[in-house]
Symmetry: C2
Subunit: 226 residues, 2 copies
DNA sequence: CCAAAAGTGTTAGTGATACACCCATGT
DNA sequence: ACATGGGTGTATCACTAACACTTTTGG
């Protein structure tokens, strides 16, 4: 049930969306952070996000904020969790709906907006101290990312359209933070039928060029592997 | 990042919590619904819930509403999803954080509060038309319930402290909506070491009494089985 | 002794893991 | 010819699925 009385007569919390955006860059798992230009936590690094407007859905708000603050668009986006501890923002009650997103970082150029001083990719192993409860939110997002990688095909969102099987395997190794066996990895990828080979090969490499693959489009956008 | 400006200067949506409470009763999977006593959707059945107060966390709000509206407490509770389509409530913008809960229905007596006309368990196969987007929320909850059952030990929340292995298996069969093999089920339960046998037996049965088991407390509250 | 549910093992198939060598290309 | 990563198969083990009869109790 929605409620018992007229919604107008209650105090209302503020609602924000936060977006934890991951990418793979320089052989490392990175998360996008912005440097706050306003109080509270001015000059600290934080997860990008902002207020939900009255006329937009939560997902629209997440996409808009990401574009405004960081110039990033066309990402894989999914809702993560809603954090609503009354004390999480020192000023007033703020409930934040967090989203988790993945991009291939080659596809765009970062750009700080007027609201933030700076935008930067941080290795998840070298994070600065974060504003609000953003440390918790990030840890939660990382768990979800690892889970998703194992049981769905989200990994493709981190790669260009055509990729080698070694590139795909490297994504898994970086995120899972462990080595995988090449033969077993390929066997599984083929058994699941999630990639299709193309007739093209890698170029500009100083060794035997690898065959390029693309995502098998017969399986929908994001397939639950199990 | 939380935001760029003073939160006070934005219009704020209302925030509610909704609780989808499942139980097993008469060999069927049931969900708790309340009959609305107020507009909008007066006299329709809906998922119990209500406004989040400024000083309480989301989870506290969920527990409070459940107790107030239905007299139910001590449930397994977990956050499900946040629904925020701008049009989901015809009056004003309402964002709802949904929770998913499980109880053993023998443990309490239902009681309608002043805000609702009636409270009732409905079989998930015989649902009335629901208020708002509550049909969608319920479908989502059901998916999550099935998933949780397969990969965690939430099923114990639906049983009394001591139970037979057949009772446990029946929970799985009702929720998964398929028959399971008795020998394989028992083999798996034992291999996972999630139950401990007691020295007691069923009584008041007209056939060979089954041994009673209890949850193995060495595993924490809710264990991820995989 | 009959009805009802409890309890118990084996086999076959499927998927996961461990492991090492030859191949194609550029320099 | 050498260095670099690309590409491939087999054996073992663990887990899943299919399947039927005997036991214990109350009536």
């Amino acid at each position: 049930m929605e409620e018992e009385f007229d919604p107008e007569k209650y105090d209302r919390p503020s609602v924000t969306v936060d977006i934890i955006l991951f990418t793979i860059k320089n052989g490392d798992l990175k998360v996008l952070l912005v440097k706050r230009d306003l109080e509270p936590f001015k000059d600290m690094w934080a997860i990008p996000g902002g207020f939900v407007r009255m006329e937009e859905s939560l997902e629209e708000a997440a996409k808009r904020e990401l574009l405004e603050e960081t110039n990033v668009k066309d990402v894989y986006l999914e809702q993560l969790y809603t954090f609503g501890n009354p004390k999480r923002d020192p000023r007033t009650r703020v409930i934040t709906v967090s989203y988790f997103a993945l991009v291939n970082s080659d596809k765009f150029k970062l750009k700080a907006s007027t609201d933030v001083k700076d935008v930067k990719w941080f290795s998840i192993y070298e994070l600065p101290k974060l504003a609000f409860d953003h440390q918790d939110i990030l840890e939660y997002a990382l768990k979800r990312l690892r889970w998703k990688l194992e049981y769905t095909t989200v990994a493709f969102s981190l790669l260009p359209e055509r990729f080698t099987l070694t590139e795909l395997q490297t994504i898994y190794e970086i995120i899972m933070h462990k080595q995988l066996d090449k033969r077993n990895f390929r066997k599984k990828v083929k058994a699941l039928d999630i990639v299709k080979e193309t007739s093209e090969y890698q170029s500009d490499v100083t060794h035997r060029p690898a065959k390029l693959y693309k995502k098998n489009t017969k399986i929908g956008e994001i397939v639950e592997i199990f």
